[in-house]
Subunit: 244 residues, 2 copies
Amino acid sequence: MQKATADKSDPIAAQLAPVGRETVQDRVYLELRRALIGGLFEPSQVLTIRGLADALMTSTMPVREALGRLITEKALEALPNRSVRVPPITLERMDDLLRARILIEGEAIALAATRMTPRQITTIESMLGEWDEMRALKHKKDVDREVTLNQAFHFEIYRACGSAVLIPMIESLWLQSGPCIRVAIYAFSDAGEVDTAHYHRTIVKAIAAQDAKGARDALVADISRPFTFLRSKLEAEAKKGQSA
Amino acid sequence: MQKATADKSDPIAAQLAPVGRETVQDRVYLELRRALIGGLFEPSQVLTIRGLADALMTSTMPVREALGRLITEKALEALPNRSVRVPPITLERMDDLLRARILIEGEAIALAATRMTPRQITTIESMLGEWDEMRALKHKKDVDREVTLNQAFHFEIYRACGSAVLIPMIESLWLQSGPCIRVAIYAFSDAGEVDTAHYHRTIVKAIAAQDAKGARDALVADISRPFTFLRSKLEAEAKKGQSA
DNA sequence: TCAATGCAAGTGTGATCACAAATCAAATAA
DNA sequence: TTATTTGATTTGTGATCACACTTGCATTGA
Protein backbone atom coordinates (compact mmCIF):
# COMPACT_ATOMS: atom_id res chain seq x y z
CA MET A 1 0.00 0.00 0.00
CA GLN A 2 2.74 2.40 0.90
CA LYS A 3 6.29 3.01 -0.14
CA ALA A 4 7.93 1.42 2.91
CA THR A 5 11.53 2.02 1.82
CA ALA A 6 12.75 -1.05 3.65
CA ASP A 7 15.68 0.43 5.50
CA LYS A 8 18.72 -1.71 6.00
CA SER A 9 19.23 -0.95 9.68
CA ASP A 10 16.17 -1.05 11.87
CA PRO A 11 17.00 1.26 14.74
CA ILE A 12 17.89 4.49 12.96
CA ALA A 13 18.69 5.96 16.34
CA ALA A 14 15.73 8.24 16.21
CA GLN A 15 15.37 9.56 19.74
CA LEU A 16 16.53 13.13 19.92
CA ALA A 17 18.30 13.88 16.71
CA PRO A 18 21.81 15.26 16.81
CA VAL A 19 20.76 18.04 14.46
CA GLY A 20 17.42 19.41 15.55
CA ARG A 21 16.40 22.32 13.36
CA GLU A 22 13.47 23.78 15.16
CA THR A 23 10.43 24.34 13.02
CA VAL A 24 8.03 27.17 13.54
CA GLN A 25 5.33 24.63 14.17
CA ASP A 26 7.25 23.18 17.10
CA ARG A 27 7.96 26.59 18.50
CA VAL A 28 4.26 27.45 18.42
CA TYR A 29 3.35 24.09 19.90
CA LEU A 30 5.79 24.43 22.78
CA GLU A 31 4.73 28.00 23.36
CA LEU A 32 1.07 27.07 23.66
CA ARG A 33 1.96 24.06 25.74
CA ARG A 34 3.90 26.15 28.20
CA ALA A 35 1.07 28.62 28.40
CA LEU A 36 -1.43 25.85 29.10
CA ILE A 37 0.60 24.06 31.77
CA GLY A 38 1.28 27.38 33.40
CA GLY A 39 -2.40 28.18 33.32
CA LEU A 40 -1.97 31.37 31.31
CA PHE A 41 -5.22 30.68 29.51
CA GLU A 42 -8.32 30.56 31.59
CA PRO A 43 -10.82 27.72 31.39
CA SER A 44 -13.52 28.12 28.72
CA GLN A 45 -11.43 30.71 26.89
CA VAL A 46 -11.86 30.50 23.13
CA LEU A 47 -8.75 30.58 20.95
CA THR A 48 -8.71 31.60 17.30
CA ILE A 49 -6.17 30.55 14.76
CA ARG A 50 -5.60 33.98 13.28
CA GLY A 51 -5.48 35.55 16.71
CA LEU A 52 -2.76 33.23 17.89
CA ALA A 53 -0.92 33.55 14.59
CA ASP A 54 -0.77 37.31 15.03
CA ALA A 55 0.29 37.01 18.66
CA LEU A 56 3.03 34.54 17.79
CA MET A 57 4.18 36.49 14.74
CA THR A 58 3.63 33.75 12.19
CA SER A 59 1.08 32.62 9.65
CA THR A 60 -1.94 30.49 10.38
CA MET A 61 -0.25 27.35 9.12
CA PRO A 62 1.87 26.38 12.15
CA VAL A 63 -0.86 27.44 14.55
CA ARG A 64 -3.57 25.21 13.15
CA GLU A 65 -1.28 22.21 13.28
CA ALA A 66 -0.28 22.99 16.86
CA LEU A 67 -3.92 23.41 17.85
CA GLY A 68 -4.79 20.08 16.27
CA ARG A 69 -2.08 18.37 18.26
CA LEU A 70 -3.22 19.97 21.51
CA ILE A 71 -6.79 18.92 20.80
CA THR A 72 -5.81 15.28 20.37
CA GLU A 73 -4.10 15.26 23.74
CA LYS A 74 -7.20 16.84 25.27
CA ALA A 75 -5.33 19.96 26.26
CA LEU A 76 -7.84 21.89 24.16
CA GLU A 77 -11.37 21.15 23.12
CA ALA A 78 -13.00 21.36 19.70
CA LEU A 79 -16.48 22.78 19.81
CA PRO A 80 -19.17 21.84 17.31
CA ASN A 81 -18.77 25.35 15.86
CA ARG A 82 -15.29 24.26 14.92
CA SER A 83 -13.91 26.82 17.30
CA VAL A 84 -11.37 25.83 19.92
CA ARG A 85 -11.40 26.54 23.61
CA VAL A 86 -9.67 25.66 26.84
CA PRO A 87 -11.77 22.93 28.49
CA PRO A 88 -13.96 24.23 31.31
CA ILE A 89 -13.47 23.03 34.85
CA THR A 90 -16.09 20.71 36.24
CA LEU A 91 -16.10 18.68 39.40
CA GLU A 92 -16.34 15.40 37.53
CA ARG A 93 -13.43 16.29 35.31
CA MET A 94 -11.29 17.28 38.24
CA ASP A 95 -11.92 14.04 40.07
CA ASP A 96 -11.28 12.16 36.87
CA LEU A 97 -7.98 13.95 36.29
CA LEU A 98 -6.83 13.47 39.84
CA ARG A 99 -7.57 9.76 39.81
CA ALA A 100 -5.65 9.31 36.57
CA ARG A 101 -2.73 11.33 37.87
CA ILE A 102 -2.56 9.32 41.08
CA LEU A 103 -2.62 6.14 39.07
CA ILE A 104 0.00 7.02 36.50
CA GLU A 105 2.28 9.42 38.29
CA GLY A 106 2.14 7.13 41.29
CA GLU A 107 3.39 4.27 39.18
CA ALA A 108 6.07 6.43 37.61
CA ILE A 109 7.45 7.61 40.93
CA ALA A 110 7.42 4.07 42.33
CA LEU A 111 9.52 2.99 39.37
CA ALA A 112 11.78 5.99 39.72
CA ALA A 113 12.30 5.35 43.43
CA THR A 114 14.10 2.13 42.65
CA ARG A 115 16.06 3.50 39.71
CA MET A 116 17.24 7.00 40.52
CA THR A 117 20.98 7.40 40.68
CA PRO A 118 22.70 9.29 43.52
CA ARG A 119 23.42 12.02 41.00
CA GLN A 120 19.75 12.41 40.14
CA ILE A 121 18.77 12.38 43.80
CA THR A 122 21.25 15.17 44.46
CA THR A 123 19.59 17.18 41.70
CA ILE A 124 16.12 17.03 43.22
CA GLU A 125 17.53 17.65 46.67
CA SER A 126 19.06 20.86 45.42
CA MET A 127 15.66 21.89 44.12
CA LEU A 128 14.32 21.88 47.66
CA GLY A 129 16.60 24.76 48.44
CA GLU A 130 14.96 26.90 45.81
CA TRP A 131 11.68 26.68 47.67
CA ASP A 132 13.39 28.09 50.73
CA GLU A 133 14.86 30.89 48.64
CA MET A 134 11.44 31.70 47.31
CA ARG A 135 9.92 31.57 50.78
CA ALA A 136 12.57 34.03 51.97
CA LEU A 137 11.30 36.75 49.65
CA LYS A 138 7.71 35.65 49.70
CA HIS A 139 6.33 39.17 50.05
CA LYS A 140 5.67 39.05 46.34
CA LYS A 141 4.21 35.69 45.43
CA ASP A 142 5.75 34.56 42.18
CA VAL A 143 3.19 32.08 40.92
CA ASP A 144 5.02 31.57 37.63
CA ARG A 145 8.15 30.52 39.43
CA GLU A 146 6.21 28.22 41.72
CA VAL A 147 4.63 26.50 38.75
CA THR A 148 7.92 26.18 36.92
CA LEU A 149 9.82 24.85 39.91
CA ASN A 150 7.08 22.39 40.81
CA GLN A 151 7.04 21.12 37.24
CA ALA A 152 10.82 20.79 37.05
CA PHE A 153 10.90 18.84 40.32
CA HIS A 154 8.24 16.35 39.33
CA PHE A 155 9.51 15.72 35.84
CA GLU A 156 13.08 15.29 37.03
CA ILE A 157 11.68 12.33 38.94
CA TYR A 158 9.39 11.04 36.23
CA ARG A 159 12.17 11.07 33.67
CA ALA A 160 14.00 8.62 35.86
CA CYS A 161 11.19 6.06 35.72
CA GLY A 162 12.62 4.87 32.42
CA SER A 163 9.28 4.56 30.65
CA ALA A 164 8.97 6.27 27.27
CA VAL A 165 5.28 5.45 27.36
CA LEU A 166 4.32 6.82 30.76
CA ILE A 167 6.09 10.15 30.46
CA PRO A 168 4.11 11.51 27.50
CA MET A 169 0.94 10.47 29.28
CA ILE A 170 1.96 12.40 32.35
CA GLU A 171 2.71 15.40 30.18
CA SER A 172 -0.75 15.14 28.71
CA LEU A 173 -2.26 14.98 32.19
CA TRP A 174 -0.38 18.07 33.28
CA LEU A 175 -1.53 19.82 30.15
CA GLN A 176 -5.11 18.97 30.99
CA SER A 177 -4.92 19.93 34.62
CA GLY A 178 -2.86 23.06 34.01
CA PRO A 179 -5.74 25.51 34.01
CA CYS A 180 -7.21 23.95 37.17
CA ILE A 181 -3.89 24.07 38.98
CA ARG A 182 -3.41 27.73 38.27
CA VAL A 183 -6.79 28.55 39.69
CA ALA A 184 -6.00 26.41 42.71
CA ILE A 185 -2.64 28.03 43.33
CA TYR A 186 -4.18 31.47 43.28
CA ALA A 187 -6.79 30.28 45.73
CA PHE A 188 -4.02 28.82 47.85
CA SER A 189 -2.11 32.05 47.98
CA ASP A 190 -5.19 33.81 49.22
CA ALA A 191 -5.86 31.10 51.77
CA GLY A 192 -2.46 31.22 53.40
CA GLU A 193 0.60 29.09 53.44
CA VAL A 194 2.01 27.39 50.36
CA ASP A 195 3.60 24.31 51.80
CA THR A 196 4.83 22.66 48.66
CA ALA A 197 8.38 22.41 49.96
CA HIS A 198 7.33 20.22 52.85
CA TYR A 199 5.64 17.71 50.57
CA HIS A 200 8.57 17.69 48.21
CA ARG A 201 10.92 17.06 51.09
CA THR A 202 8.89 14.03 52.09
CA ILE A 203 9.07 12.75 48.52
CA VAL A 204 12.83 13.19 48.33
CA LYS A 205 13.30 11.43 51.65
CA ALA A 206 11.34 8.40 50.48
CA ILE A 207 13.20 8.24 47.18
CA ALA A 208 16.57 8.50 48.88
CA ALA A 209 15.55 5.51 51.01
CA GLN A 210 14.44 3.68 47.86
CA ASP A 211 11.02 3.40 49.49
CA ALA A 212 8.70 3.02 46.49
CA LYS A 213 5.49 2.86 48.48
CA GLY A 214 6.47 5.80 50.64
CA ALA A 215 7.30 7.86 47.57
CA ARG A 216 3.99 7.02 45.98
CA ASP A 217 2.06 7.98 49.10
CA ALA A 218 3.94 11.23 49.45
CA LEU A 219 3.30 12.06 45.81
CA VAL A 220 -0.40 11.36 46.17
CA ALA A 221 -0.55 13.73 49.10
CA ASP A 222 1.30 16.37 47.09
CA ILE A 223 -0.80 16.33 43.95
CA SER A 224 -4.09 15.80 45.75
CA ARG A 225 -3.78 19.00 47.70
CA PRO A 226 -4.62 21.58 45.04
CA PHE A 227 -7.41 19.41 43.72
CA THR A 228 -9.18 18.92 47.01
CA PHE A 229 -8.77 22.59 47.77
CA LEU A 230 -10.16 23.65 44.43
CA ARG A 231 -12.94 21.11 44.81
CA SER A 232 -14.24 22.67 48.00
CA LYS A 233 -13.98 26.07 46.37
CA LEU A 234 -16.00 24.96 43.37
CA GLU A 235 -18.60 23.29 45.53
CA ALA A 236 -19.03 26.48 47.50
CA GLU A 237 -19.47 28.46 44.30
CA ALA A 238 -21.91 25.93 42.91
CA LYS A 239 -24.01 26.27 46.04
CA LYS A 240 -24.20 30.03 45.59
CA GLY A 241 -24.87 30.36 41.90
CA GLN A 242 -27.47 27.86 40.79
CA SER A 243 -28.59 30.30 38.11
CA ALA A 244 -26.78 28.61 35.23
CA MET B 1 -31.09 13.27 25.54
CA GLN B 2 -28.63 15.03 23.31
CA LYS B 3 -30.21 17.91 21.45
CA ALA B 4 -27.72 20.35 23.00
CA THR B 5 -30.17 23.20 23.60
CA ALA B 6 -27.60 25.74 22.47
CA ASP B 7 -27.36 27.75 25.63
CA LYS B 8 -24.85 30.54 26.03
CA SER B 9 -23.91 29.33 29.53
CA ASP B 10 -20.64 27.62 30.33
CA PRO B 11 -21.23 23.94 29.64
CA ILE B 12 -22.10 24.25 25.98
CA ALA B 13 -22.71 20.54 26.00
CA ALA B 14 -19.89 19.98 23.61
CA GLN B 15 -19.58 16.19 23.68
CA LEU B 16 -20.85 14.81 20.40
CA ALA B 17 -22.33 17.70 18.58
CA PRO B 18 -25.84 17.31 17.20
CA VAL B 19 -24.61 18.48 13.82
CA GLY B 20 -21.28 16.86 13.11
CA ARG B 21 -20.15 17.81 9.64
CA GLU B 22 -17.23 15.53 9.10
CA THR B 23 -14.12 17.28 7.89
CA VAL B 24 -11.67 15.67 5.52
CA GLN B 25 -9.03 15.99 8.18
CA ASP B 26 -11.04 13.86 10.59
CA ARG B 27 -11.72 11.28 7.92
CA VAL B 28 -8.02 10.98 7.18
CA TYR B 29 -7.18 10.84 10.86
CA LEU B 30 -9.69 8.09 11.56
CA GLU B 31 -8.58 6.18 8.50
CA LEU B 32 -4.94 6.21 9.55
CA ARG B 33 -5.92 5.43 13.10
CA ARG B 34 -7.87 2.40 12.02
CA ALA B 35 -5.01 1.24 9.87
CA LEU B 36 -2.57 1.59 12.75
CA ILE B 37 -4.67 -0.19 15.36
CA GLY B 38 -5.34 -2.92 12.85
CA GLY B 39 -1.64 -3.22 12.18
CA LEU B 40 -1.97 -2.50 8.46
CA PHE B 41 1.30 -0.63 8.52
CA GLU B 42 4.35 -2.54 9.47
CA PRO B 43 6.83 -1.35 12.09
CA SER B 44 9.56 0.95 10.77
CA GLN B 45 7.54 1.72 7.68
CA VAL B 46 8.05 5.28 6.49
CA LEU B 47 4.98 7.31 5.54
CA THR B 48 5.05 10.31 3.24
CA ILE B 49 2.54 13.10 3.20
CA ARG B 50 2.07 13.17 -0.54
CA GLY B 51 1.91 9.40 -0.71
CA LEU B 52 -0.88 9.22 1.81
CA ALA B 53 -2.65 12.17 0.22
CA ASP B 54 -2.73 10.33 -3.10
CA ALA B 55 -3.86 7.11 -1.48
CA LEU B 56 -6.65 8.87 0.39
CA MET B 57 -7.65 11.00 -2.55
CA THR B 58 -7.12 14.36 -0.97
CA SER B 59 -4.56 17.12 -0.82
CA THR B 60 -1.57 17.22 1.49
CA MET B 61 -3.30 19.59 3.87
CA PRO B 62 -5.51 17.20 5.87
CA VAL B 63 -2.81 14.52 5.85
CA ARG B 64 -0.13 16.60 7.46
CA GLU B 65 -2.46 17.65 10.22
CA ALA B 66 -3.53 14.07 10.82
CA LEU B 67 0.09 12.93 10.90
CA GLY B 68 0.94 15.64 13.39
CA ARG B 69 -1.86 14.46 15.66
CA LEU B 70 -0.74 10.85 15.43
CA ILE B 71 2.82 11.85 16.23
CA THR B 72 1.78 13.63 19.40
CA GLU B 73 0.00 10.51 20.65
CA LYS B 74 3.10 8.47 19.83
CA ALA B 75 1.29 6.40 17.25
CA LEU B 76 3.87 7.59 14.74
CA GLU B 77 7.40 8.81 15.14
CA ALA B 78 9.07 11.89 13.71
CA LEU B 79 12.58 11.20 12.49
CA PRO B 80 15.29 13.85 12.48
CA ASN B 81 14.98 13.89 8.69
CA ARG B 82 11.48 15.23 9.30
CA SER B 83 10.12 12.08 7.78
CA VAL B 84 7.53 10.03 9.61
CA ARG B 85 7.50 6.34 10.31
CA VAL B 86 5.72 3.68 12.29
CA PRO B 87 7.74 3.14 15.47
CA PRO B 88 9.90 0.00 15.35
CA ILE B 89 9.33 -2.85 17.75
CA THR B 90 11.89 -3.33 20.46
CA LEU B 91 11.80 -5.52 23.52
CA GLU B 92 12.04 -2.55 25.86
CA ARG B 93 9.20 -0.78 24.14
CA MET B 94 6.99 -3.86 24.27
CA ASP B 95 7.53 -4.35 27.97
CA ASP B 96 6.94 -0.65 28.50
CA LEU B 97 3.70 -0.74 26.56
CA LEU B 98 2.44 -3.85 28.29
CA ARG B 99 3.14 -2.43 31.74
CA ALA B 100 1.28 0.77 30.91
CA ARG B 101 -1.65 -1.17 29.45
CA ILE B 102 -1.91 -3.40 32.52
CA LEU B 103 -1.86 -0.34 34.73
CA ILE B 104 -4.40 1.76 32.88
CA GLU B 105 -6.69 -0.76 31.28
CA GLY B 106 -6.64 -2.70 34.53
CA GLU B 107 -7.89 0.35 36.36
CA ALA B 108 -10.51 1.03 33.70
CA ILE B 109 -11.95 -2.47 33.82
CA ALA B 110 -11.98 -2.44 37.61
CA LEU B 111 -14.05 0.71 37.49
CA ALA B 112 -16.27 -0.69 34.78
CA ALA B 113 -16.88 -3.90 36.73
CA THR B 114 -18.73 -1.95 39.40
CA ARG B 115 -20.58 0.30 36.98
CA MET B 116 -21.73 -1.74 34.02
CA THR B 117 -25.47 -1.98 33.61
CA PRO B 118 -27.18 -5.29 32.88
CA ARG B 119 -27.84 -3.97 29.39
CA GLN B 120 -24.13 -3.37 28.79
CA ILE B 121 -23.24 -6.77 30.20
CA THR B 122 -25.69 -8.37 27.80
CA THR B 123 -23.95 -6.58 24.96
CA ILE B 124 -20.52 -7.98 25.75
CA GLU B 125 -21.99 -11.43 26.41
CA SER B 126 -23.43 -11.43 22.93
CA MET B 127 -20.00 -10.65 21.58
CA LEU B 128 -18.72 -13.95 22.93
CA GLY B 129 -20.98 -15.73 20.49
CA GLU B 130 -19.25 -14.10 17.56
CA TRP B 131 -16.02 -15.79 18.53
CA ASP B 132 -17.75 -19.14 18.31
CA GLU B 133 -19.12 -18.20 14.90
CA MET B 134 -15.68 -17.32 13.74
CA ARG B 135 -14.22 -20.49 15.17
CA ALA B 136 -16.84 -22.48 13.28
CA LEU B 137 -15.44 -21.37 9.92
CA LYS B 138 -11.88 -21.07 11.06
CA HIS B 139 -10.43 -22.72 7.99
CA LYS B 140 -9.75 -19.23 6.71
CA LYS B 141 -8.34 -17.15 9.50
CA ASP B 142 -9.85 -13.71 9.32
CA VAL B 143 -7.29 -11.64 11.18
CA ASP B 144 -9.06 -8.38 10.41
CA ARG B 145 -12.26 -9.61 11.99
CA GLU B 146 -10.40 -10.89 15.02
CA VAL B 147 -8.79 -7.53 15.54
CA THR B 148 -12.05 -5.66 15.08
CA LEU B 149 -14.02 -7.92 17.38
CA ASN B 150 -11.35 -7.87 20.05
CA GLN B 151 -11.26 -4.10 19.92
CA ALA B 152 -15.04 -3.75 20.07
CA PHE B 153 -15.20 -6.05 23.09
CA HIS B 154 -12.57 -4.24 25.09
CA PHE B 155 -13.79 -0.75 24.36
CA GLU B 156 -17.38 -1.63 25.13
CA ILE B 157 -16.06 -2.33 28.62
CA TYR B 158 -13.72 0.64 28.85
CA ARG B 159 -16.44 3.03 27.80
CA ALA B 160 -18.37 1.93 30.87
CA CYS B 161 -15.59 2.99 33.24
CA GLY B 162 -16.97 6.51 33.09
CA SER B 163 -13.61 8.24 32.79
CA ALA B 164 -13.20 10.73 29.97
CA VAL B 165 -9.52 10.91 30.83
CA LEU B 166 -8.60 7.23 30.85
CA ILE B 167 -10.33 6.29 27.61
CA PRO B 168 -8.26 8.51 25.29
CA MET B 169 -5.15 7.19 26.98
CA ILE B 170 -6.20 3.64 26.31
CA GLU B 171 -6.86 4.55 22.70
CA SER B 172 -3.38 5.96 22.49
CA LEU B 173 -1.95 2.76 23.97
CA TRP B 174 -3.81 0.62 21.45
CA LEU B 175 -2.56 2.88 18.70
CA GLN B 176 0.98 2.36 19.89
CA SER B 177 0.73 -1.38 20.34
CA GLY B 178 -1.27 -1.95 17.17
CA PRO B 179 1.67 -2.88 14.95
CA CYS B 180 3.04 -5.26 17.59
CA ILE B 181 -0.32 -6.94 18.08
CA ARG B 182 -0.72 -7.60 14.42
CA VAL B 183 2.63 -9.30 14.25
CA ALA B 184 1.75 -11.32 17.34
CA ILE B 185 -1.58 -12.45 15.97
CA TYR B 186 0.01 -13.68 12.80
CA ALA B 187 2.55 -15.56 14.87
CA PHE B 188 -0.30 -16.95 16.95
CA SER B 189 -2.14 -18.24 13.96
CA ASP B 190 0.97 -20.06 12.86
CA ALA B 191 1.54 -21.45 16.32
CA GLY B 192 -1.89 -22.98 16.76
CA GLU B 193 -5.00 -22.16 18.72
CA VAL B 194 -6.42 -18.69 19.06
CA ASP B 195 -8.03 -18.86 22.42
CA THR B 196 -9.23 -15.31 22.77
CA ALA B 197 -12.82 -16.37 23.40
CA HIS B 198 -11.86 -18.23 26.55
CA TYR B 199 -10.16 -15.22 28.05
CA HIS B 200 -13.05 -12.97 27.14
CA ARG B 201 -15.46 -15.38 28.74
CA THR B 202 -13.51 -15.19 31.98
CA ILE B 203 -13.63 -11.43 31.83
CA VAL B 204 -17.38 -11.36 31.28
CA LYS B 205 -17.95 -13.77 34.13
CA ALA B 206 -16.01 -11.58 36.54
CA ILE B 207 -17.81 -8.44 35.44
CA ALA B 208 -21.20 -10.08 35.73
CA ALA B 209 -20.26 -10.96 39.32
CA GLN B 210 -19.11 -7.34 39.87
CA ASP B 211 -15.74 -8.80 40.81
CA ALA B 212 -13.37 -5.91 40.12
CA LYS B 213 -10.21 -7.74 41.07
CA GLY B 214 -11.17 -10.82 39.13
CA ALA B 215 -11.92 -8.73 36.07
CA ARG B 216 -8.59 -6.99 36.32
CA ASP B 217 -6.70 -10.26 36.63
CA ALA B 218 -8.55 -11.78 33.70
CA LEU B 219 -7.82 -8.73 31.59
CA VAL B 220 -4.14 -8.84 32.46
CA ALA B 221 -4.01 -12.43 31.35
CA ASP B 222 -5.79 -11.54 28.12
CA ILE B 223 -3.62 -8.64 27.03
CA SER B 224 -0.38 -10.15 28.27
CA ARG B 225 -0.69 -13.17 26.00
CA PRO B 226 0.25 -11.66 22.64
CA PHE B 227 3.03 -9.66 24.23
CA THR B 228 4.72 -12.59 25.94
CA PHE B 229 4.34 -14.65 22.82
CA LEU B 230 5.83 -11.96 20.62
CA ARG B 231 8.55 -11.42 23.17
CA SER B 232 9.81 -14.98 22.95
CA LYS B 233 9.62 -14.74 19.18
CA LEU B 234 11.70 -11.56 19.12
CA GLU B 235 14.24 -13.00 21.53
CA ALA B 236 14.67 -16.03 19.30
CA GLU B 237 15.19 -13.80 16.28
CA ALA B 238 17.63 -11.62 18.14
CA LYS B 239 19.65 -14.69 19.03
CA LYS B 240 19.88 -15.71 15.40
CA GLY B 241 20.60 -12.41 13.69
CA GLN B 242 23.14 -10.41 15.61
CA SER B 243 24.18 -8.75 12.36
CA ALA B 244 22.34 -5.46 12.93
C1' DT C 1 -41.04 48.33 21.02
C1' DC C 2 -39.75 43.98 19.56
C1' DA C 3 -38.85 40.30 16.38
C1' DA C 4 -37.26 38.93 11.91
C1' DT C 5 -34.35 39.68 8.02
C1' DG C 6 -30.28 40.74 5.56
C1' DC C 7 -25.63 42.34 5.21
C1' DA C 8 -20.86 42.41 6.64
C1' DA C 9 -16.98 40.90 9.22
C1' DG C 10 -14.72 36.98 11.15
C1' DT C 11 -13.26 32.14 11.18
C1' DG C 12 -12.01 27.33 9.96
C1' DT C 13 -10.91 24.28 6.09
C1' DG C 14 -8.80 22.68 2.07
C1' DA C 15 -5.92 23.49 -2.08
C1' DT C 16 -1.96 25.33 -4.23
C1' DC C 17 2.52 27.44 -4.61
C1' DA C 18 7.44 28.59 -3.37
C1' DC C 19 11.39 27.26 -1.12
C1' DA C 20 14.93 24.64 1.32
C1' DA C 21 16.60 20.39 2.79
C1' DA C 22 17.19 15.63 2.05
C1' DT C 23 17.56 11.60 -0.92
C1' DC C 24 18.82 9.02 -4.71
C1' DA C 25 21.29 8.17 -9.13
C1' DA C 26 24.45 8.52 -12.40
C1' DA C 27 28.78 10.07 -13.75
C1' DT C 28 33.51 10.98 -12.82
C1' DA C 29 38.07 10.31 -10.76
C1' DA C 30 41.44 7.53 -8.27
C1' DT D 1 36.48 -1.68 -8.90
C1' DT D 2 35.54 1.67 -5.43
C1' DA D 3 34.84 6.10 -3.51
C1' DT D 4 33.35 10.88 -4.35
C1' DT D 5 30.78 14.39 -6.37
C1' DT D 6 27.21 16.49 -8.95
C1' DG D 7 22.63 17.03 -10.55
C1' DA D 8 17.67 15.78 -10.61
C1' DT D 9 13.88 14.29 -7.93
C1' DT D 10 11.37 13.88 -3.81
C1' DT D 11 9.72 15.63 0.48
C1' DG D 12 8.45 18.59 4.43
C1' DT D 13 7.39 23.43 5.71
C1' DG D 14 5.32 27.76 5.60
C1' DA D 15 2.52 31.25 3.19
C1' DT D 16 -1.36 32.58 0.62
C1' DC D 17 -5.79 32.18 -1.53
C1' DA D 18 -10.73 30.69 -2.22
C1' DC D 19 -14.76 29.03 -0.25
C1' DA D 20 -18.33 27.87 3.22
C1' DC D 21 -20.07 28.54 7.50
C1' DT D 22 -20.86 31.19 11.61
C1' DT D 23 -21.50 35.34 14.24
C1' DG D 24 -22.80 39.96 15.20
C1' DC D 25 -25.06 44.10 14.10
C1' DA D 26 -27.87 47.18 11.77
C1' DT D 27 -31.96 47.70 9.12
C1' DT D 28 -36.65 46.73 8.21
C1' DG D 29 -41.16 45.18 9.09
C1' DA D 30 -45.25 44.50 11.98
